[in-house]
Amino acid sequence: MRFDSVEFWAFFAVVLLLHRVLPARRLLLVLASYAFYASWNPPFVLLLLFSSMLDFAIGHRLGALPAMDAGARTQRRALLGLSLLGNLGVLFYFKYVGFVLDNLVAVGALAADSAAGLRVETVLPLGISFYTFQTLSYTIDVYRGDTKPVRSVGDFLLFVSFFPQLIAGPILRAQEFVPQIEHDPVPDRRGVLEGVELCLVGLFKKVVIADGFANVVDMVFANPEHFSGWALLVGSFCFNCQIYCDFSGYSTMARGLARLLGYEIPRNFDFPLLATNPLEYRRGWHVTMGNWFRDYLYRPLGGDRGGEWKTARNSMITWMAFGLWHGASWTFVLWGALNGLLLVVYRLLKLRGLLLPKGRLSTAVGLLLMPTFLSLSTIAFRAPSIAAAFTAYRRIATWADGPLAISPLWLLALTVLYGIHWLNRRYQTEGALARVGWPARAAFITFMVLGLAVGAGSGAPFYYFQF
C-alpha cells in the first residue's frame, strides 16, 4: 500500500474512522501498522516483530542492570552487542551479502562458483533500513541512559511499527515518541488542519512534481550517451528536485498522517534545495537519518574533537556509511564520498578564513554553487553503475554534443520550483491552513484536488522505498 495509491487512502479512512470511534486507539494503531506492513509481504511481519521484541527485551534488561556496577557493565555491553548483532545481522543478510560476495569475487578472494553457491536470492524487506536503525537507536539510548526502557510491549511495538513512518521514516527517537503514545492523543482542530495540509502538500510533491520530473530524468539517465552535456546537467538538476520532492513528499505525508492520528513526528527536510553550504545541506536533508549518523557514528568516532585530520576522517567515514546505508552499491559510496569531501573542503576553507564573509554575495555564490554540486553528485546516486556515472560526468565536463535535447520548459519548471521553495522558507508557510479562514482553506483544498486530478504523473514508486 503506497501512500499515493487509492488502496492506501481507503485503508487510512477506515483507520481514521475507527481511531475516532474505538476506545482502544493504541491497539488499533498497532494492528493497523502490522496490517499495513503485511500488505507488502506478509512473512516479513515476523522480521519486524523479531526486531521489535529483541530490542524491547534487551531494553528492559538494560534498564534493570545498574549502570555503575562493574559486573553489570560487562552484561550491559554484551546486551548492546547482542542488539547490534541481531539487528545489523538481519540487515546485512538481506541487504549487503550479495554486494560483499560480488566484491570478494572481484578482488579474487572468492571463486565465482563458490560465491554463487553462497548467494541466497532474497527480497529486501521494505523499510528494513529505517526500522532497524530506529530500534537500534532505542537500545543505544537506553544503554547510554538517555532514555528509560519502555514498560509496555504494545507501546514499543507501536513505536517501531507506526505505519505513517514505517517504510521510509522520518526515523523516530523513543524519547520523542513514546511519551506521545503514553498520552494516547487525539488531534484538536489545529492538528487536523495541519494534518490535512501536510497530506495534500506531500501528495502533490510526490505525484505531481516528483513523478513529473521522473519523466525527463528516466529518459536522460536511460541513454546518457545520447544527450548533450547541457541536457545532462539540466537532467541532474531535475533528478535532484525529483528525489527531493519524492522523499520529502513521503515524509510530509507521513507527518500529516501522524498529525491526523494525533501524533507529531519530526521534520525530515529543512529546505535543502536552498542550502548555501555543505553544513546547511547536512542539516536540511534527511535530517533524522543525518542526526542518527551524527549521534551514533560521527560522535562516537570522535566527531570534531581530535583536530583537522580526525574530523575530516570522521566526516568521510560518516558520509560514506550514510551513502552505503542507501544501498549495496559503490555508486552510493561514491555519492557519500563526494558529499563528505565537500564538507571537509568547506571546513578547511572556513578554518583558514578563505570563505567569503557572510552576506548577500556569499549567499548568492552559495545558492549558485551548492545546488550545482548537489545535482552533479546525484548523478552518482542515480546512475546504474560507476561507469555510467563517469560517462555522464565526462559528457558534462567536455560539454559534449548529443542528438537529443531537453525542452527549455524543464528549466522553467526548475525555476518555478526553486522560487516556490524560497517563498515557503521566506514566509514559513507550513501550518498556514490552521491560521487562515475557511474561504482560504476551501481555495487551498480546491487547488490541491484539481492539481492532483490534472497533474498526477507516472505513478513511479517512491524512490526511497528501495532502501
Binding site: V208, L409, I445, A456
Partner: protein, 335 residues
C-alpha cells in the same frame, strides 16, 4: 509539543474540521467532474491530445460524447477492429432505411469482451435502438490482462468478477474505479499533452505498458489450439453482462458470429460450431444471435487478412446480420 491529549471538546472540533475539509474536497471533486464531463471544450482538447491506437479508449469516449449530442442512433456497432472492418455504415443505413448519420461504430483495436462490457455505461448514455456486436472465437480465448484493458466501470466490475478476483486485483480495481469516477483524472494525460506540449518534452506521460496491437489477435489465433477455446472465460461472462446491460436500456442486442478466414483453426468449421454452441448456451438476456451455421459463405478472397473482411464482403455481411431473424416468432434464446 503539547503532550496532553486534546480535551473532548477540542477533539470534537478537530473531527468537525476534518469533516468539513473532506466535504469541501468531495464537492470540488464531484463538481469538477460534473462540469468537465459536460464541457465540449474538454472533449475537444482530449480528442486532440489522443492519437493512435494507444489512446483508442480516449478517442472512443470522445466520439461517444459527440454522438450523445445527436438524436438517438438506429444502430450502434461495438467491438474490435473486426467491428470496424466487417460492418459498413452504408449497408447498415440501407438495411435499416435510416440516414447514415443514425448509425455509428465505436471500436478499439483488439477490444476484448471485458472491455466491451466495461463500455456498457456508454450504451446507456447513447440510448441506441439496437447494438450490434460481432462475436469471434476470441471470446473463448484466454484470461484477462490488465495491461491490455483500457476501459473500466466499477458497476460492471462488481458483477463481472468474483469477490476473490476483486480482492486479488484490488489495487488495479481501486485505482481504475477511482479514475473512472472523474473525467479529468481519466484523461489527464491527453489534457497535459495538449496544454503543455509534446509528452517527451514536458508532460508526465506515464511509462506505457505494452499496448494491444491489431496484429496481436491474429497472432493469438494462429497460435491457438483446439483446447484453448473454452466457454467459461472471463470474456464469456463479460458478454453475458453486456447483454444484460444493453437489455436494461431497452435496446435490441444482435450478436453476430463474424467470419474468419479458413486458413487458421479459428476459421475452421469446428471452431465456428463451437462458438455457436457457446453463444447458444449463454444467458444473453434475449439477444438476437446470428450464428455461423446460418451465415453465407465467405471465401479467402473476401478477407483482407485472417480476421477482417474486405469492403464488398463487409457489405454482404452487414446486410445478412440485419436480415429478419430466421427464428423470428420463436422465443429468443436463453431468456
Amino acid at each position: 509539543m503539547d503532550l496532553h491529549p486534546a480535551p473532548r471538546a477540542d477533539a470534537r472540533q478537530g473531527n468537525r474540521a476534518l469533516l468539513v475539509c473532506a466535504l469541501v474536497g468531495l464537492v470540488v471533486f464531484v463538481g469538477s467532474d460534473a462540469l468537465a464531463s459536460r464541457s465540449d471544450w474538454l472533449w475537444e482538447v482530449v480528442g486532440r491530445g489522443a492519437s493512435g491506437s494507444e489512446n483508442a479508449a480516449v478517442m472512443l469516449e470522445a466520439r461517444a460524447h459527440s454522438l450523445a449530442q445527436e438524436p438517438p442512433l438506429a444502430a450502434l456497432v461495438m467491438g474490435s477492429s473486426v467491428a470496424d472492418a466487417d460492418f459498413t455504415e452504408r449497408a447498415l443505413a440501407a438495411s435499416l432505411q435510416v440516414p447514415p448519420a443514425r448509425v455509428a461504430k465505436l471500436w478499439m483495436p483488439a477490444m476484448s469482451d471485458v472491455e466491451l462490457a466495461m463500455l456498457a455505461p456508454l450504451v446507456r448514455r447513447l440510448r441506441p435502438e439496437r447494438v450490434i456486436v460481432p462475436a469471434s472465437p476470441f471470446v473463448m480465448l484466454g484470461g484477462l490482462r490488465w495491461d491490455r484493458t483500457r476501459a473500466y466501470a466499477p458497476e460492471v466490475a462488481w458483477r463481472l468478477f468474483t469477490p476473490r478476483e476483486l480482492f486479488t486485483d484490488r489495487v488495479e480495481h481501486l485505482s481504475r474505479a477511482f479514475a473512472s469516477t472523474h473525467v479529468i483524472v481519466r484523461h489527464r494525460r491527453e489534457l497535459r499533452r495538449v496544454l503543455l506540449g509534446d509528452h517527451r518534452d514536458i508532460t508526465a506521460l506515464p511509462p506505457q505498458g505494452e499496448r494491444p496491437r491489431v496484429g496481436e489477435q491474429i497472432h493469438a489465433l494462429e497460435r491457438a489450439r483446439q483446447g484453448d477455446f473454452r466457454c467459461d472465460t472471463v470474456h464469456v461472462r463479460a458478454l453475458e453482462i453486456f447483454a444484460q446491460d444493453v437489455r436494461a436500456t431497452g435496446a435490441e442486442l444482435i450478436i453476430a458470429s463474424a467470419p474468419m478466414a479458413g486458413r487458421s483453426l479459428a476459421g475452421s468449421a469446428a471452431s465456428s460450431e463451437r462458438l455457436d454452441a457457446c453463444l447458444e448456451s449463454l444467458s444473453l438476456a434475449g439477444a438476437r444471435l446470428r450464428l455461423g451455421r446460418d451465415r453465407p459463405a465467405f471465401e479467402h478472397d473476401d478477407f483482407r487478412d485472417l480476421i477482417h473482411l474486405d469492403r464488398a464482403a463487409a457489405e454482404r455481411f452487414t446486410r445478412w446480420v440485419l436480415e429478419p431473424a430466421p427464428n423470428a416468432g420463436r422465443p429468443p434464446h436463453a431468456l
